[in-house]
Symmetry: C2
Subunit: 266 residues, 2 copies
DNA sequence: CGTCGGGTTGAGGGTGATCAAAGTTTGTGG
DNA sequence: CCACAAACTTTGATCACCCTCAACCCGACG
């Protein structure tokens, strides 16, 4: 389906196709997991499902019986305003569980959409609930994941509420690059981003036309290139500074020193 | 400190001063609690703390050992963008636990601020963690609270990203009115809102000047009055429609019918 | 009575929206 | 491999929402 060298599929470079392995890797970015915890996770039954680009995985008002672990591809949450304008709420990459909240909220309050061709692993809520009852540490780890989601939402409120178009764009791309790198995919200076300018606009609260102009502006200033679904960040230091990006909100250090420099993890 | 008739303190009208009682009321808005659960909650030790208006309860990068239940007053989360501009992230009223996420995220990624004089009850994380291990249903209920927070953040992203100033204002005020009513405080058509126009601006991603103009516009159209820290909604049906408000995102029905009308609960 | 925080008003400007059309890339089928 | 269509990107002209700056007003409070 895709070409042999497929950076755009957003797959694990080692082609890990075990979703649980990816989930473990994700959880271990932010907290410790015992061997028993990992074994318990591996005992979870799942089944794989593919979604072509631009298809809806689940819809507002749906009631789900499963949550999905992203195996490959780029997935987003989205919500419609009353007049039909769309707002993206978050991006999700391999290892994420973008609908984990349905474990305790019985109705979807937004859509889940595959932006590129994507593969997910579905895990039954019943199994997850049993797991969280039997392994409180895992319950905490999963709870924590949903709390990090919430933290990212908060940062997005700041992004659309208090930053101009250029900063919004830089901040968003930095976030995606940072998270991809943390999962071992791409480099901070260059990473896959299989998304249209229209989608970017919906993520940033802008129009596609203006997104186009902002991208050109950033390209002319030598800060950024966004071509063929790949983002390249050139002047890295300047970019980091201008984007107003502080990785604190991603909570990826389970016990960071109190006064670690903002970009210490980079 | 306040006058005898004190609608502005945002206290329980029956003057309940047991924080656990308020917490139970809050949790029961969205899910069932057994008597055993309630008893377990009542066994939690806490101590009361007061914060004058405009003081900070906890700060970005703080590490907390307690979470707080709001007893009275209006509290908000806030975050600074790089250039010093402030963005509010949510409002919190009696019964809320605005820093519950610190139970599993060890660093605050935003500030917690008392907008009016406020009273909170501090509960130690150690006690909460023990409780969640011993009572999985309570763990689920508290997890659920943080998930509802996240849903509200999502709605706020839509609000600042895809609605114009008027709609933003209406939506925000409707949300606060709705939540106060659910906790038995005020009416949908009239409720306390002890906040400056500047704070409103920070919540909406606008400037204080523009907030002032929007409020005047809404007043002239007979939709809304905001005087002396009290919001009055006049033309209620029209307001509900124009504000693009759908209470689904507050997840207050634990088992709502699939096709309940959006405003069914009002 | 003076100060201070907050609310109100006015004039002017800029960021980003809107509308419309022309390019360009991507995908598909012949 | 080419022809064609569809989707996406780019460009230009114009517009509006909201910002900025600056001043003034008002009520609360010492």
């Amino acid at each position: 389906m895709t070409s042999p060298s497929r950076p755009l599929a957003l797959e694990d470079p080692a082609l890990t196709n075990d979703p649980i392995e990816l989930l473990v890797r994700r959880l271990r970015l932010t907290c410790e997991l015992s061997d028993a915890d990992v074994r318990a996770l591996h005992s979870l039954p799942f089944h794989i499902k593919d979604f072509p680009a631009r298809t809806t995985i689940s819809r507002e008002r749906d009631r789900l019986s499963h949550s999905c672990v992203v195996v490959s591809g780029l997935i987003c949450r989205a919500k419609m305003a009353g007049d039909g304008r769309r707002q993206l709420l978050s991006f999700h990459i391999l290892g994420d569980i973008p609908d984990l909240q349905t474990l305790h909220l019985n109705v979807m309050d937004h859509d889940l959409i595959a932006l590129s061709d994507a593969r997910v692993a579905l895990i039954a809520h019943d199994d997850l609930r049993r797991l969280t009852r039997e392994q409180p540490d895992l319950a905490a780890a999963l709870w924590r994941e949903t709390l990090i989601d919430a933290s990212v939402f908060r940062e997005w409120i700041v992004n659309v509420g208090r930053r101009d178009a250029r900063q919004r764009m830089m901040h968003l791309l930095f976030e995606v690059g940072f998270r991809l790198k943390a999962m071992g995919l791409g480099e901070l200076g260059s990473f896959p981003m299989p998304i249209t300018q229209s989608d970017l606009a919906d993520a940033l609260g802008l129009t596609p036309v203006h997104v186009n102009r902002v991208l050109q502006n950033l390209r002319h200033e030598g800060l950024l290139d966004f071509k063929r679904a790949t983002v390249t960040i050139n002047n890295f230091a300047r970019f980091a500074e201008l984007s107003d990006f502080d990785p604190l909100y991603l909570h990826q250090s389970s016990a960071a020193p109190d006064d670690a420099p903002p970009m210490g993890a980079v």
